[in-house]
Symmetry: C2
Subunit: 345 residues, 2 copies
């Protein structure tokens, strides 16, 4: 089974995925009979290329990491931009990881809409499209008989969407709570240990885990976008991030954390969905949680999601100290899920 | 899609599943186009029956709960025993939940072997067959083109085996640790709160969570059987429970728990698999864990399993205070998984 891929966006996540693909070529062939061919790569600053043959992925990674243009790659033709590449590339699956405007989900939504309309399957690690346009994009994919997958958008490669889709058949998700933003959780953990807000933020920046604008983490926007994405997919909502009642961590002081600790509690920036009567209430806010609980167990950059269900009670999934490798794995996981589906017809 | 079921064993779990099936008939039809027909029920003390038509499941539940024989059910013929029913019933899937001899996995293994050989698909909530005969039974099912599923054998309906099979494609499980026995965990939590060993055991008995022989919980046998089952399925081992190095909780005192607590630790009866060089080491033993960690978060009857993987780091799944409903859901989940596979050909 030959699978032709294209990349829209070739940043840290896409390049980690590219390396993972290259290092797993033999496994993909022997275990899944999948042969990968890369047919196009679009970047914002290093050119966009397609080829009728195959792009050497490690050569492309190397060029971008040496800040050089991709257009020097042998046999490649240059495209005008991402949308041009999406229109022209000879791919079965496009991997969308372009830099995101978190307030409206663009340009990822336009990229994905264009790809699904061609139709070509899409895998994305961008949460914006799932938070701002899930219903439309999912319908478009279905109508056109292609796939739209996005496991990496919440909790990196930890299976959240796949868990609900493949492992909880017959179950209705009635609500959820989770710790989904690593930056604020890392900061709260540092502050529990006595660091100030400013020191904690500086440490998070040093670790490279903050969004380019750290207000986006601190004021709960990132968590709100993820909350909307989860509600849209897991609870069939049609919510937008600005409908999530949102409170960030600026009001959480070292004193409050100490007081919570004396009650065997911690404070977590909690993403929550609950049905109040027939209305779905979505919120992001600092909440006290028992230290010895799944939510309390998420320290530092770790994440957790607790699903409330009708038939299976509460099930939580927990990811320990994720990094870019875990997000890269999410893309691989989506690739393999699509290939399994193609194989089953 | 008509699916014909038979029950071998009709105890608490099977009857909870029967009630769940009845209450979800409309959902099964509308969402999955599945119509259920029950064709046979084998019990140890209330007779074994088959029918060419359909057994009224709620009538059967009611008869057994009033301690009456099933042979009075209209249109049913009596079978000699479980194996006779397995041989004669007109079923696509047999649900095996017979009372288990935990030291050798019988009679469940014989039941399943006979069913798969017919061939008829099998769903079981009995961990013995997976711990003692997984490789043989799995091969037999594959050779005969039928299914052998067992999600309920470890952590009830929390998706463990399905998570690894459907949600972590391309991943190798390199080890695991978990809190898998509710009785001992409940006892350790009660002892943390100051109760004695004997009081804690009495409380567990009152709650109805102990095995019929509570030594089987306390001395780590139940956890060892689950450890072997997990290793066999998730790590392609061919282990037996007696190969699991095993230490129960008799040596854990209130004093030791208090000392651990002062270090922000708890003691959990930990099931563990790790590769030491090329050798797989399996163990069950009381181990100190950080209170604020996935393992520490499993208090009372809650369970947790942490999977160590090559591509996805550590992923943990957590089940809060499971009951018989969660095990019943595991059977429903396996039923739906088999139906999805049948539908895909």
């Amino acid at each position: 089974m030959e699978v032709k891929l294209a990349f829209v966006g070739f940043g840290n996540v896409a390049r980690a995925f590219a390396r993972m693909l290259e290092s797993r070529r033999a496994m993909l062939d022997s275990r899944y009979s999948i042969q990968i061919r890369v047919k196009g790569i679009a970047t914002a600053r290093h050119g966009s290329i397609i080829t009728p043959t195959e792009i050497n992925l490690l050569e492309a990674v190397d060029l971008v990491e040496r800040d050089q243009s991709l257009v020097s790659i042998h046999g490649a033709s240059e495209c005008a931009d991402s949308l041009d590449l999406i229109e022209c590339c000879d791919a079965n699956i496009i991997f969308e990881t372009s830099p995101l405007d978190p307030t409206e989900g663009e340009p990822a939504i336009s990229h994905i809409r264009r790809a699904l309309a061609r139709p070509v399957s899409v895998v994305t690690a961008n949460k914006g499209p799932v938070a701002f346009a899930y219903r439309e994009l999912n319908e478009l994919a279905k109508q056109n008989g292609v796939h739209f997958r996005f496991e990496g958008t919440v909790m990196d490669g930890a299976p959240i969407f796949n868990l609900a889709e493949f492992c909880l058949p017959g179950v209705r998700v009635t609500g959820f709570s989770g710790v989904l933003n690593s930056t604020t959780n890392f900061m709260l953990t540092r502050m529990e240990e006595g660091a100030s807000f400013e020191e904690s933020l500086a440490d998070a920046r040093t670790l490279g885990i903050t969004e380019s604008n750290s207000d986006y983490d601190i004021d709960g926007w990132d968590a709100a976008v993820k909350t909307a994405a989860l509600a849209n997919v897991l609870m069939n909502a049609d919510a937008r991030p600005n409908e999530v009642r949102r409170q960030g961590i600026r009001g959480v002081t070292v004193q409050k954390l100490k007081a919570a600790s004396q009650l065997s509690q911690a404070i977590r920036l909690t993403s929550r969905a609950e049905m109040i009567g027939s209305a779905l209430k979505l919120s992001v806010a600092p909440e006290p949680v028992a230290l010895t609980s799944p939510m309390g167990a998420a320290r530092g950059t770790s994440n957790v999601l607790v699903l409330n269900t009708d038939l299976m009670g509460d099930v939580a999934i927990f990811e320990t100290d994720p990094g870019v490798e875990q997000t890269a794995y999410a893309l691989l996981s989506d690739l393999l899920t699509i290939c399994a589906s193609l194989r089953n017809g």
